[in-house]
Structure formats: structure tokens, C-alpha cells
């Protein structure tokens, strides 16, 4: 097994494996997202309190979940790259960051859109949205920090430290924001989702979640290939690689 893992870390092998894996993830993701969206919009019953407005959950919750899990993946990959000096791991961290930031933005935007009919304002300082906002700052800081380096190897190692510091902070930030919102609980603010939710509403949610997750894997495959190439100096194995897909 170790020889297989060791082979995996070599760029040409990793690149070719990613080429073979990616289309499967892409097709699966597409299918699941379309099915989940249809199910969530058409088949699932309307919510008792929020009517059809709650359907935004089906695009908000997966985005929020991914924004957080991608950060963890990014930090874990960065740590592995730093500790065991594996370029592929650093490449994975670099590849994940922009996608994570995009999902964080999406979570904020859909959360805000959902909030308007529910609370009457485009923004509230509730625990979920505020945590997402701070997470966005962490992502953007990471990306900006990476960009400030000319040398990609240095960027890899320095930003790995930043990612690790960040991921340790994420639960602290999350808890502190939670605590901060519970101190002053205005009576007019209704808690954001998560009462007991019916199974018929949950199934499309899980489908969307799975679809988004596979989508991330597909995007990661493609971006990782690009990041591998960026870190390769003499790449004679390139001649056997095709262009697109």
C-alpha cells in the first residue's frame, strides 16, 4: 500500500489518475445536483412557517457546509505538505482555496437573500452569517498572502502555517460568535432554520449536499492538475497528456 501511495505523490502518476477520475465525479455531481434541485423545488412540501421561501435552504446549506469543510481540507493538506514535504499536498491546498472562498461567498449571498423575506433586512448579525463572514476574511487573507510571494514553494510553506493557525482559530471564532449572539437575544429575531425538519424535506437536502461535495472533488481534480503543472520544472511526461476535458 505504501508503494501505491508513494507512486501517487509523483506528479505524472497523480496527474494521469486525476484525468481518469475527474469525469466520473463531474457526471455524478451534475446528476445529483440536478435531481436534488428538482426534488427540492418541485417535490418537497412547502414549509409550515416559511412557505416556499424555505427552498433556498437547498442551495444555502450545502454552500455553507462546503465553505467550512473545504477550509479544513485545505488546512489538513497544507499541514501534510509542511510536515512531510509533499508537493502534491501543498498543491491540493492551493487548489482548494479559491473554491472554498467561492462557496463562502455563495453561502453569505444566499443566506442574505433568504434573510430578507424572513427577517425583513438584507443582513443580520446572527451567529451563522457572522461566522461565514469571518471565514470569508480568512479565505481572502490566505489568498492574498499566497499572492504576495513570487516563489511558489515559499508561498506553499508560509501559507501552510497561516492555514494551520486559521483552522485552529475556526472553532474559537465560531464559539465566540455564538456566545456573542446569545447575550442579546432580540425578541423579533427568529432562529435561522434547524427546527425538527421532515424527512421529505431532508432527502433533497442530502442529495444536494452529496452533489455539491462531488462537484468540489471534480473542481479540485482539475485545479490540482493545474497546480501540479505549476510546480513541475522538467515535465517530459507532458507530451503524452491531452488538452481538454
Amino acid at each position: 500500500m505504501w508503494t501505491w501511495l508513494h507512486k501517487l505523490a509523483s506528479p505524472p502518476h497523480a496527474f494521469r489518475l486525476l484525468d481518469r477520475m475527474a469525469p466520473w465525479f463531474g457526471v455524478a455531481a451534475c446528476a445529483l445536483i440536478l435531481i436534488g434541485a428538482y426534488w427540492g423545488l418541485v417535490e418537497a412540501p412547502a414549509d409550515y412557517q416559511q412557505g416556499d421561501g424555505f427552498r433556498i435552504l437547498y442551495v444555502h446549506a450545502p454552500a455553507a457546509w462546503l465553505s467550512l469543510s473545504i477550509y479544513v481540507v485545505m488546512a489538513a493538506a497544507a499541514a501534510i505538505g509542511l510536515i512531510w514535504r509533499i508537493k502534491l499536498a501543498h498543491a491540493a491546498a492551493a487548489a482548494s482555496a479559491p473554491v472554498g472562498a467561492a462557496f463562502t461567498f455563495l453561502a453569505l449571498a444566499t443566506g442574505s437573500i433568504w434573510g430578507k423575506p424572513m427577517w425583513g433586512t438584507w443582513w443580520v448579525w446572527d451567529a451563522r452569517l457572522t461566522s461565514e463572514l469571518i471565514l470569508l476574511f480568512l479565505y481572502l487573507g490566505y489568498l492574498a498572502f499566497r499572492a504576495s510571494f513570487d516563489d511558489v514553494q515559499r508561498a506553499d510553506r508560509a501559507s501552510a502555517i497561516l492555514a494551520i493557525v486559521g483552522v485552529i482559530n475556526v472553532p474559537i471564532i465560531h464559539y465566540s460568535v455564538e456566545w456573542w449572539t446569545t447575550l442579546h437575544q432580540p425578541a423579533s429575531v427568529t432562529r435561522f432554520a434547524k427546527p425538527t425538519i421532515a424527512l421529505s424535506m431532508l432527502i433533497p437536502l442530502f442529495i444536494m449536499l452529496a452533489g455539491y461535495q462531488l462537484y468540489f472533488v471534480w473542481v479540485l481534480c482539475r485545479r490540482l492538475q493545474g497546480e501540479i503543472l505549476r510546480r513541475e520544472r522538467s515535465a517530459t511526461w507532458l507530451t503524452s497528456v491531452e488538452g481538454a476535458a
Binding site: G141, A158, V165
Partner: protein
């Protein structure tokens, strides 16, 4: 665990920074002055009414202290890297993290501590009741110390970035938000006559966490930053 050599090296590092600062005392005075000026901005922008200011006084004092502390962070390691003494430290064989911790301690003595000592003056100016001053001093002491350490990590990371001051702030401020939440709210609770023990304990916990992990992160970051 801590050899005599290391202890002396750390003490020397602190003394060196303090002596250099003494010779350029105007550099030290700037963040303190900034603290006062920024605090003044808030009443000017909102209201001169002390009764109204009282409700946001805790927040103002804390945010101003946060911003003032950030100002001197960029220079924390810069001069030592530029003149080559940081490279000496890296090669010296002494545990780099401890030496850098000594520099962070000096930074707090020069920036954080004056802010803490000055805060009662500003608190009085913002209508913060005297009963809350003890909480304020304790929360600011812990908070600025933790911030010096967090800032040290940021400074070590950005040490090779040209004009990295704004980037440093962008990296450190989100990480400092829990400090702000617990610190400012502790003072707020004290103002309302409630017990600030909970957030103060959490603040202390964050302080100890940054203290134990900070030197590790700083040393790793400096090593990357110093290599040519």
C-alpha cells in the same frame, strides 16, 4: 528545560529591544498617541452625551487598543531581518521560538502595557463607570498580550513581503475577533453590573493558547522568511 544560556539570551533580547526603543522614544509614543486620537474620533462621530457613550464605551476602548497595537507589528522583526541579526538567531542553535517570544514580550511592554495603563483615562472620558475599570484593565492586559503574540505570528509570516503592513492587519484582525468579543463584552457586562468571569476566563484561555502555539508558528514562519 530552560538552560541558563537561553534565559540569558531571552533577557538580552528584551533588553536590546527596550534600549533601542528608549533611544527612539517617539516611535514608542506614536501608537499611544494614535490610541488617544482614535478614541476621540468616536464621540466626535456619534454624540457628546456621556450617558449614551457609556453603552459603547467598552467597545470603543477595545477597538482603539486593537488598532493601535497593530501599528507597530510590522516593524517587530523587520529591522532584525534587514540587518541580518535574525539570520544569526536562526543559525545560533538557540530555540528560535523562545527568542522570538522574548521579542513579542518586549513589544507588549512597549505597546500593549502603555495602552493598558492609559485606558482608565480614556474610560473616564467615555463615561465608563469606575466599577468596570478593573475588568477593563484585566481584559486589556490579557487581550493586548494575546494580540502581541498573534501579531507576532502575522509579522513573522509577512516579514519577507514588501510593504506588508496592510496584509498583516488583514491576516491578524479576523484571528483577533474572538479576543475582541470576549474582552469588550466582559467590560460591557461589568458596566451592567453583571459578572464578567465567563468571558474573562475565555480570554485567558485564548491568551494561554496563543502563548503556547505562537512561538512554534513564529519560528517556522521566520525560517521561511529569512531564507534567500
Amino acid at each position: 528545560m530552560m538552560t541558563n544560556d537561553l534565559g540569558r539570551a531571552m533577557l538580552l533580547a528584551v533588553q536590546r529591544d527596550l534600549t533601542l526603543a528608549w533611544r527612539r522614544w517617539d516611535d514608542v509614543a506614536q501608537p499611544i498617541l494614535f490610541y488617544v486620537v482614535v478614541t476621540t474620533l468616536f464621540p466626535l462621530a456619534t454624540t457628546p452625551d456621556l450617558a449614551q457613550l457609556r453603552s459603547i464605551a467598552a467597545g470603543i476602548v477595545w477597538v482603539a487598543a486593537l488598532l493601535a497595537s497593530m501599528l507597530t507589528l510590522e516593524a517587530l522583526f523587520r529591522t532584525d531581518v534587514d540587518d541580518g541579526s535574525m539570520e544569526q538567531w536562526v543559525l545560533s542553535g538557540q530555540p528560535l521560538g523562545w527568542l522570538l517570544l522574548a521579542k513579542v514580550a518586549a513589544h507588549w511592554l512597549l505597546t500593549g502595557l502603555p495602552l493598558v495603563l492609559l485606558s482608565p483615562l480614556l474610560a473616564a472620558a467615555l463615561g465608563l463607570p469606575r466599577e468596570a475599570w478593573g475588568t477593563m484593565l484585566l481584559s486589556l492586559a490579557l487581550g493586548t498580550a494575546a494580540l502581541s503574540q498573534l501579531g507576532g505570528i502575522g509579522a513573522a509570516l509577512t516579514v519577507s513581503v514588501r510593504r506588508g503592513n496592510v496584509l498583516l492587519s488583514l491576516l491578524v484582525l479576523p484571528l483577533a475577533m474572538p479576543l475582541l468579543i470576549f474582552g469588550a463584552r466582559a467590560v460591557g457586562l461589568a458596566v451592567d453590573g453583571l459578572s464578567p468571569a465567563g468571558p474573562l476566563e475565555l480570554l485567558a484561555a485564548i491568551f494561554f493558547l496563543t502563548l503556547s502555539l505562537g512561538p512554534l508558528a513564529m519560528a517556522a514562519a521566520i525560517r521561511i522568511g529569512v531564507e534567500s
